[in-house]
Amino acid sequence: MAVADFVKAARESFRVGWKIESNWTDPVLFATYQVIRPLASLLIVAFIVIIGASVGATANSAFYTQYLAWLIVGNAFYAFVLQIMLGMAILVHVDRTRYEVLKNIYISPGTLHPYVMGRGLVSVLNGAVSVVLTLLFSVAIFNGLLHMNIPLNLLGVNLLMLIPAVILGIISLLAIGYMLCAVNIVSNRMEFILGDSVSGIFFLLGGVIFPIALLPSYVQSISNVLPITYLLNAVRESFGLLPTASYMSDLFYLALTTLVTLIIGITVFRLAERRAKKLGLFDRKSEY
């Protein structure tokens, strides 16, 4: 399939996906919905740190403001994980069982690949909206309202460091989303579990709310093969919250894990597609 056709099909899929996800309400309410969930997650961890500071669980007060900045950035960018995993994990189920269009998409000239890609990009856009709004609200709440002087300067971000890391991170997350779609094509019992499971594993092992050095050593080796770990490291380095000296190595490992994830994602998807065609799974109804 020519690249132009792929792009055209993905663009149309993006358009449909965006309408499905956003046109049930007006834009302001939609944006509110997009920001409340990640903001509430952030407030949970931020309050834990603030409670820690109030009861003096750790003596050094500078530790808390530094940690809060570290935590805000990690939590904000985790929105990409949540949006992509939850969005792509449910996609096949919704299109196959609820709207009953998966078979039609499969037999169209575009096939499933650009469709899944386009729908995944809608989740990326949702994630980006969440990230930006969460960062803005965090600064407004913690520095503006609560005067906590958190060392988080949104205008001082090194975009040359941030953009490559975010692009690679998004590609890796989309590749994992591809795997989730593949699993759902051949299974009809995992759609409500997969997204939460994968995002939960990334939340625990990806260094979102605490450094992975605090995990038991045998678990750290799993963290070290997850792209999210390097994505969050590189993002924090671009915000000046970690020493920038390790940026290039983080970016290298992010690129490497992204490449591996991409290869596995596409392979798994193709295998699932073949199996689904053989067993006639594209139009299976499975509501229960």
């Binding site: 499905i20 049930w24 309400t25 919905y33 409340i36 969930r37 990640p38 509430a40 997650s41 407030l43 949970i44 961890v45 309050f47 834990i48 740190v49 603030i50 409670i51 820690g52 109030s54 009861v55 669980a57 750790t58 808390y64 940690y67 609820r98 709207y99 019992r189 995992m190 409500f192 579990i193 939460d196 499971s197 939960g200 594993i201 939340f203 625990l204 979102v208 709310i209 605490f210 450094p211 605090l214 995990l215 509501e287 229960y288």
Partner: protein, 279 residues
């Protein structure tokens, strides 16, 4: 020929049968798939684990971990209320079952009661699994002096919580895609407002406005009481206000849920939205 209404006893029996039937479907449906059962116990442990490690990172005592485990177990009930109670009429309408419920000669509340009983039993199994697994993995201390009182508070919390679920179910009845988004929206904000992942909720550290907002959710009150009894080693004197508040929640929410259900059903009929799909 005119239709005669059933005697009260027969009507009550009919409704109880309907509740039992709906409960049976829920129990059977949720427990026939072992993968889901394992996932529903294992998934909360991921978030609980992250918060326990965070507490250790900032130097909190291990009782904070115990509070998080209880909070994580109670969150399972909130998730059940949201996705299997509040959104249920939406799912039923999507699958074409809602009209069957509406033409059945039973009260809608008996269907909701069946859902609530089945859902709370299912979730209790999962919550017990979460607590046991959490204690095993994270080795946190508990001081349970009065298990009976904990049981009473737990049941009162569930009754109030599922009464709230019944109210939401009626409000969600006419939703299209809003149902999905609203249920999503009510997850993390409620985890925050209920203090599910905090070591304690009612105290000088959590701002008063958040405490007031959180107290509108029965889970917040029940969770705090259970923590006082199971972690703080408290007795009836430390939770009697919680008991009154939980009973008051039920007495307020249940009639409101009943009225809201009738209102939304009649509105749905007028606007022809009870059988709409794919909105």
């Amino acid at each position: 020929m005119t239709l005669r209404s059933l005697p009260i006893r027969a009507e009550l029996l009919n409704n109880l049968r309907a509740a039992h039937a709906r409960m049976w479907v829920r129990l059977r449906g949720a427990n026939r798939d072992p993968i889901s059962l394992v996932a529903e116990i294992g998934l909360p442990i991921l978030a609980i684990g992250a918060y326990v490690i965070l507490y250790r990172a900032i130097g909190f005592p291990s009782t904070a971990g115990a509070a998080v485990i209880i909070g994580g177990a109670m969150i399972a009930f909130w998730t059940n209320v949201l996705w299997n109670m509040s959104s249920q009429w939406f799912w039923e309408r999507e699958q074409g079952n809602l009209e069957m419920y509406l033409i059945a000669p039973v009260s809608r509340m008996s269907i909701l009661l069946g859902m609530a009983l089945g859902g709370s039993l299912n979730t209790a199994i999962r919550a017990l699994g979460i607590v046991l697994l959490g204690i095993f993995v994270f080795q946190v201390p508990f001081q349970l002096r009065d298990p009976f009182l904990v049981g009473v508070i737990f049941v009162l919390t569930l009754v109030a919580l599922y009464a709230l679920g019944m109210l939401f179910a009626s409000l969600f009845m006419l939703y299209g895609r809003e149902a999905w988004n609203t249920a999503n929206l009510l997850q993390e904000p409620v985890y925050f407002l209920s203090g599910a992942y905090f070591p304690g909720f009612y105290g000088p550290i959590v701002p008063g406005a958040i405490q007031v907002a959180g107290s509108l959710i029965p889970m917040t009150i029940g969770l705090d009481a259970i923590r006082r009894l199971a972690i703080g080693g408290g007795d009836i004197t430390s939770v009697w206000l919680h008991i009154i508040a939980l009973i008051a929640c039920t007495l307020i929410l249940f009639p409101i849920a009943r009225r809201a259900l009738n209102y939304m059903e009649s509105l749905g009929k007028k606007e022809g939205r009870l059988t709409l799909r794919w909105q």
